[in-house]
């Protein structure tokens, strides 16, 4: 269990983490989501005692990180990739970590086997690919067989096979009753792995909710219908007890309805349809709306995703 209480970090004038309070519980994967620069890595560094909080408190199983005896046996962390000496072999890197925490040498071989690096264990790590580096970082996190695991952007730079492996690993660690805390800036990634979600933006807590709740609240599925006989279609739908909303440009949105059902109703009444398509508001969209105000670095290119509802040129019209 990781408990944060009013955790704050200031770098001069800039507030990186602002009064953050939440709890990461065991037995589930907790996703830590936020746009780039939201303060995720800073928060994780403070959990590990690598950064001192300006204010507030963070405890691991009720203790400060500094008070943990052999901390790697309590909490294992994958921070930024390549936090090791490139001239040292993977085996020796893990060995020196194991020795510092009184972990038996045999465990080094075990974790190398787990992450699939046995074949390159004696090779210098500077020749490792991004994926191998991530695996070595994960081996170091697993080394002490800790009850708490923390991964900072673990899927960054991995190939699809590696991503799949990490997802499975995180889920199985949580299934063993461990606390798994994983950060990401990709909602789609979290939707696949996390059971609980903590969202931050500009260092502030934006949401602390279960994944199921977040999906239920934020992902709306609806059927998009366009018809030249809009009024008639509305009547027909109303009579059938289907709720439709107009959303401009002659488009009707049928919440929670099935496309087949709407199509059959239209056919029975001889109504022409120009479009009938099931839609799903993506979680990514919901996440972007949630964090829109707190995104630090907005891209201003035409290809940048805009929060839905806002049209290109809106700002100009308003100005």
């Amino acid at each position: 269990m990781i408990e944060l209480e009013g955790l704050t970090k200031r770098y001069g004038e800039k507030v990186a983490v602002n009064n953050l309070s939440f709890t990461v519980r065991p037995g589930i994967v907790t996703g830590f989501l936020g746009p780039n620069g939201a303060g995720k890595s800073t928060t994780m560094r403070m959990i590990l005692g690598l950064d001192h909080p300006t204010a507030g408190d963070v405890r691991i199983d009720g203790k400060h990180y500094q008070q943990l005896k052999d901390p790697l046996t309590y909490i294992g962390a994958l921070l930024e990739a390549k936090a090791w000496h490139g001239g040292r072999s993977a085996y020796n890197h893990l060995l020196c970590l194991a020795q510092s925490n009184g972990i038996p040498r045999s465990r080094v071989r075990e974790v190398l086997e787990t992450v699939g690096l046995t074949a390159v264990a004696k090779k210098k790590t500077k020749g490792f690919s991004m994926g191998m580096g991530q695996r070595l970082g994960i081996a170091a996190a697993l080394l002490g067989d800790p009850r708490i695991l923390m991964f900072d952007e673990p899927v960054n730079g991995l190939d699809p096979e590696g991503i799949h492996w990490i997802r499975t690993l995180m889920k199985s660690l949580a299934a063993q009753g461990r606390t798994v805390f994983v950060s990401s800036h990709l909602m789609s990634e979290m939707a696949l792995t996390a059971d609980h979600l903590v969202v931050i933006g500009q260092g502030r807590l934006l949401a602390d909710t279960s994944m199921a709740d977040f999906i239920a609240r934020n992902s709306r599925s609806y059927v998009r219908v366009r018809s030249p006989q809009r009024e008639r279609l509305l009547d027909v739908l109303h009579q059938a007890g289907v709720v439709a909303v107009e959303s401009g440009d002659g488009v009707l949105e049928v919440d929670g309805g099935k496309a087949e059902h709407v199509g059959e109703l239209a056919a029975q009444h001889g109504i022409t349809l120009h479009e009938l398509s099931p839609q799903q508001a993506s979680l990514e969209e919901a996440f972007m709306q949630l964090t829109a105000e707190s995104v630090e670095y907005h891209a201003h290119s035409e290809t940048s995703p805009r929060p839905s509802g806002q049209q290109w040129g809106d700002g100009w019209k308003r100005g």
Binding site: W84, H85, G87, S100
Partner: protein, 243 residues
């Protein structure tokens, strides 16, 4: 956190990188080879020396002539041992494993300092015996007065130079910055400080002074072989450990 665990871990770290092997090998090879060369040259020059020069002839000191260059490799060793942690990003992993900064730094300096002492002593003894072998009939014996103390002092000096470099690197965290400050410091600044009246007092406490002092001072001639800077290094080492 048991300190023995951290010491063992630091030993694994230090023995598993190539820079340890090549910097320390360089210390031994440069110091011994240069000492032998200068000893051989001095032997050939002895006959053409004047009486004053012959009286000041210090075989122990001559066989240590390579140390002025060999110590640079020792500085590089000390700097790399510490700054590698920062330049590679290993420091984050290290401090997550050993959150007690004091224990971490103490263990690192103890292990690296111990290794530097061992290599320093081996170098010092090798430089002495091989240098004396080159000097032929003008040689000093290890049993001569003050010689053993000088040879051990030479090894101690090497270890302290390494530890001094580790301290500087721990403060500056960058290998380039540390070397950029230490190299000119050992070559120039301490000489300047020591030679200007106003700063002489400061200069006396710098680690390079024993070396410079024995180079500059002409001593009254005696019949016993001189202990040269080895002894001065020894006294500097003792002085440092007292402070």
């Amino acid at each position: 956190m048991a300190t023995t665990q951290v010491v063992r871990s630091e030993w694994t770290k230090i023995r598993s990188v190539a820079s340890t092997v090549w910097t320390l090998s360089l210390v031994v090879v440069v110091t011994v080879a240069l000492g032998m060369l200068i000893s051989a040259l001095s032997k050939n020059e002895f006959d053409s020396m004047g009486a004053q020069e012959r009286a000041e002839f210090d075989p122990t000191f001559i066989s240590f002539a390579g140390m002025s260059l060999g110590q640079l490799a020792m500085i590089v060793f000390g700097v790399l041992v510490v700054s590698n942690e920062y330049s590679t990003g290993m420091i984050r992993t290290s401090l997550a494993a050993v959150p007690q900064r004091g224990s971490f730094l103490f263990s690192k300096i103890a292990v690296a300092g111990g290794l530097a002492l061992l290599v320093g002593l081996v170098t010092s003894f090798a430089a002495f015996f091989l240098g004396q072998a080159m000097l032929g009939e003008h040689r000093a014996e290890i049993g001569d007065q003050g010689v053993l103390r000088a040879v051990i002092g030479g090894g101690l000096y090497m270890a302290l130079i390494a530890m001094f470099s580790m301290g500087v690197a721990a403060m500056l965290r960058s290998p380039m910055l540390s070397l950029g400050i230490l190299m000119p410091f050992f070559f120039l600044i301490s000489n300047i400080l020591g030679n200007v009246d106003a700063t002489k007092k400061v200069g006396r406490f710098l680690p390079t002074r024993p070396a410079a002092r024995s180079c500059r001072w002409s001593r009254p001639s005696t019949t016993t072989p001189r202990t040269g800077r080895g002894a001065d290094w020894g006294s500097w080492a003792c002085g440092c450990s007292r402070r």
